[in-house]
Structures are given as C-alpha cells and as structure tokens.
C-alpha cells in the first residue's frame, strides 16, 4: 500500500496556506506538484554543471550532455521505445502535436481524411484544423456518448481508405475517460492510417508501452508527472520520424550548412533545433525516477480508491451532476450543481484554500455536447488524501448553500 503521509513530505508546496487555510490542491490535471527530489536535481544542475550540450569540448558541457542523454534513455525505457532516438524532447505535448501536424502537411493530399475524437483538448484539434486547411484534407469527428465514451461503432464506420491520420487522447482532460486506444490503433493500421495519441493526461496515471500499443506517435508533458513545466517528449516510430521533414530550423538540427544546401542531422537532433530545455529534460528523468520509485501500479490503485470515494461523496450532494461517467476512467471528476455557475463554485472553493479548475478545460466541444458553459473539475494525484476529498465535499456544500 502507498504511504501517502510519507509521500506528502516530499512535496514542500503541500504545506502552504492559501487564504488562511491549508492548501488542498486538486488541480493536478492542469499541473502536478514537484517533489523535492526533482527540485534538488534542478538546483544541482544550475549550481554545478549548467552548460550548453552536444557541442562543447569542455568538461561541464560533457557532463550536462551525458545527464541529458541519460534522461532521454530513462524516458525511452519508461515508455518502452525501441530506440532512444525515437524520443524527441519538446516543450510539451502541444509542441509534439504541432511537430507531427506540420510534418504531415507535406504528406497529406486534398481529399485525405483525418479523424479526431470529440473529446479532444483544443491543442489536439486546432493543429489538425490548420493542417486540414493547408492541405485540403478533411477533418472528421469520432462522436462520444452521454457517458463521455467514444462511440466505437461510429469510429469503425468513419475509418476508410481515405483515412490517413487518427488523433485521440489516451485520457480526456475534461472527463477522465480512458479511451480504448489499443483498438483505435489496431483498426487505424488496417487501413494504413497513422495514429497520434495525446498522452498528456494518461502519463501521470498509466505507464504506456509504445511497442505493445504499436502506436505511431505518443506525446506527453513533464509537468503533469511531477516534472517541471516547459518540457515534454514526443515518441515517434523511427520510420515515421525519418519520413517527416524537420519542424524548426536552427542549430543542433543540421549536419552540414552551406548557403546552397543544408543537410539535416540524424534523429533525434533533426527535430531538436536550438538549445533545448536542458535542465528540464534532466529533471523530467528525475521525475520519472520518482514516480517509478512509488510504482505506477500502486499509484493507479490508490488513485482509483480516491476517485471512488470522491465520486460517492460528491454524488450525495443534492443537485450535483458528474460529467464523464465512463466505465474506464481516471481520477478526474468534472461536475456542476444545478442552477449554479461553475465559476462561482470555484471562487468559493478558492476562498477555502481548495484549488480546482473551472471553465471549459480547453475542450469547448465537450461543453457544447452537454450544453453547459463549463464544469468544476477536481483532479486527484497520489499525494491527495481522503481528508482532502472531505474538505472538497464540505466546500462544495458550503458553496451550494451560499449560492442557491
């Protein structure tokens, strides 16, 4: 069993007070907090071996390069990629998606079809819309049902010879639904379509095995899994990454430059123009070490228990409705109270020291589907406790009494 009190000691921020109340941090789907083991790595980098990588002959540059490449290998191992150069460092999930979308603009032709799920984050909709506009390809939407699950029959119907790409999140940020990505990937491959899975919300909860999934692209952000902001990775199958043109030009990504012609560097450097977030990459590796030291199975089991408890307790509040009631879901609860605007609930909860997200969660199509302006979203991490769930429930009750 997971020792939550011991774990909480690793997170200095959890001792903070907000508005005179102990912080109850339930906005983990937006960003997770950072343990001191990761903070120490960040401090160590800047205090002891800050240097630019891959090009220095000097000692510090070599040390920083080694640590950065070790982090890449840790990430490779974690997601079980076949080769370390299939792991591209990015600034985060959005960057990874844009990199792939940009690459496909030279591959897609007019009339090709792109399938995107109805429960995507805006960052997994807008780049494909832009791609469709540029190429004349058609964007088609895999619908969802009232429970917040993808309608798989409709997906199979939409899939055809013209389908070239399928995009879907592993877990919905607004609803918590765990999508059947294995089935999606297998089916897409039968028609020769490539699949990109947005793993931003899944990576903190589920250890994805990219080879077992046979996924073409999988992209994540470090800051949702106890790492720093501004860094993430894109996993891509080697054959795809070789096929895609570079995304940005600059230093690091070239082999030879003359004014007549430039030849590009090998993977992964072809996609890593400019000085990367070196410290961030190394700290991402440390964050994975931290999470693995607790163990993803233990994390999943504990979070499931929190989800179950919080769902039951919240549903005891009169007029409360939960959006996203899929069979397979992770520790995210999106809800509203009848007759109350989510923003008002969030404001009162904030006054009580409870941090939740309110609004459309960058997934307006989902809000349109339910015909609501937004929801209150509480998202739990392995460092949250049942007592914090109780504080949330009490807070929501109090807000309800004040607002109705």
């Amino acid at each position: 069993m997971l020792d939550v009190q011991k774990i909480r000691k690793d997170f200095p921020i959890l001792n903070r007070e907000v508005n005179g109340k102990p912080l109850v941090y339930l906005d983990n789907a937006a960003t997770s907090q950072t343990p001191k083991q990761v903070i120490d790595v960040i401090v160590d980098y800047y205090q002891n071996y800050n240097a630019n990588i891959h090009r220095g002959v000097h000692f510090l540059s070599q040390e920083a390069t080694d640590k950065y490449e070790q982090a890449r290998q840790k990430i490779q191992k974690h997601f079980n990629a076949k080769k370390s150069h299939e792991i591209i460092f990015t600034s985060g999930t959005t960057h990874g998606i844009n990199l792939v979308a940009n690459g496909f603009s030279s591959i897609l032709k007019k009339g090709d079809e792109i399938l995107v799920s109805a429960m995507e984050h805006h960052s997994n909709i807008v780049p494909w819309q832009m791609l469709a506009e540029r190429t004349g390809a058609l964007l088609k939407v895999i619908p969802m049902n009232e429970e917040g699950e993808l309608v798989m029959d409709a997906f199979h119907d939409l899939l055809g010879a013209k389908t070239k790409l399928v995009f879907c999140n592993h877990i919905s940020n607004a609803l918590g639904t765990i999508n059947p990505i294995k089935e999606i990937i297998e089916s897409a491959h039968t028609v020769g379509a490539a699949v990109l899975i947005d793993g931003a919300q899944a990576a903190p909860h589920i250890q994805a095995d990219v080879q077992a999934l046979d996924v073409d692209f999988y992209t994540v952000s470090a800051h949702k899994m106890c790492g720093p902001t501004g860094v993430g990775v894109l996993y891509g199958k080697e054959e795809w990454l070789n096929k895609l043109p570079p995304y940005q030009g600059g230093g690091e990504m070239i082999a030879e430059v003359t004014f007549e012609k430039t030849t590009y560097a090998e993977l992964p450097h072809k996609f890593e123009a400019g000085t990367p977030n070196i410290c961030g990459g190394i700290a991402f590796g440390a964050a994975l070490d931290y999470m693995n030291s607790i163990g993803f199975q233990k994390i999943a089991a504990y979070e499931h228990e929190l989800l179950k408890y919080a769902t039951e307790e919240l549903l005891s509040i009169e007029g409360l409705r939960i959006y996203g009631t899929a069979q397979e879901k992770t520790s995210v609860i999106s809800f509203n109270i009848e007759g109350v605007h989510p923003y008002d609930i969030g404001t009162i909860l904030d006054k009580l020291g409870i941090a939740v997200r309110t609004g459309h969660h960058c997934a307006q199509p989902i809000m349109d589907f339910y015909k609501i302006p937004g929801t209150v979203r509480a998202s739990f991490c392995f460092y949250n406790t049942k007592e914090e769930v109780d504080a949330l429930v009490e807070g929501v009750k109090r807000a309800r009494n004040m607002l109705l």
């Binding site: 508005n19 008002d344 404001t347 459309h360 302006p373 937004g374 004040m402 607002l403």
Partner: protein, 140 residues
C-alpha cells in the same frame, strides 16, 4: 451623488463585514436581487467575453448622463457588476472617464479585478470607460 461619494458609501457598507464569507454573501445577495439588463440587450454584440463567465453590458445616454445596465451568468460576477453599476451608472461621461476603481480594492475584492482572473470584469470596466469616451465625443 458624485462617483467618489458613492464609492465611499460602498466602502463604508463593506467595512461592516468581518470576513470574506459575509462580503461574498452580500455580493451574492446583490447579484440575486438586481434586475440588471433588459433581455433584448443580452445579445452576442453586447457580450464581453471573459474567459469563463459571460458579461453583457448596455449603455444609454439619458439627459447627458450615461446609464449602464449589465448582467452575467455567474452570480458573484453579477454581484460585483451591481456594485460597479451603482458607482458608475447615471453619471456624466467625463466623470466616468476620470473615475478610478481603487474602491474595489478597499472593499476586499481586489482579486476579482486582477487581469489574470478570467471573469471578464477587467474588460467590463474597460468597456464602461470606452462607452463613456464614445458618448463624451458625441456630446462634444
């Protein structure tokens, strides 16, 4: 009454409250009790898009004074709107242009007017002042 005097009156009222709960309860009451805008003006054109709660504002000139009506779909936002309307509506455009909004800070609602707060109120004040500028130009 001049804007400044009204603002002082509001600050006085709020000084009676001991804690945030009472302040918020009062604002929620204000939000609930005031009919703020005629339905016909709740149009897309009149929406000030804050990130999360919608805010509608309508302005009309009445005898050289500018009359504002407004609404929001969130009740706390609506309460603050009620306070803003009380302070700025039925005033001469030039006075609205010259007025400051520091009293919001004094009544303990500063956080709602922070530009990072996604509730549309900052845009609303800007809009009130823009209307005032527009009508002042008309009057000149």
């Amino acid at each position: 009454m001049a804007i400044k005097e009204i603002q002082e009156e509001i600050v006085d009222e709020f000084s009676m409250f001991d804690d945030w709960m009472q302040r918020y309860e009062y604002m929620i009451e204000l939000g609930k009790s005031l009919p703020l805008i005629d339905e016909q003006y709740k149009t897309e054109d009149n929406i000030i898009k804050g990130c999360q709660s919608k805010v509608w504002v309508h302005a009309e000139l009445d005898n050289e004074k500018l009359v504002f009506t407004a609404d929001s779909d969130a009740i706390i936002t609506k309460g603050i709107i009620a306070i803003l309307i009380r302070a700025f509506s039925n005033q001469k455009p030039q006075d609205i242009i010259d007025a400051d909004t520091a009293f919001i800070d004094e009544i303990g609602l500063k956080e709602h007017l922070s530009p990072t707060r996604a509730n549309g109120l900052v845009s609303m004040i800007k809009q009130l002042k823009l209307y005032a500028v527009a009508y002042q130009t008309q009057l000149n």
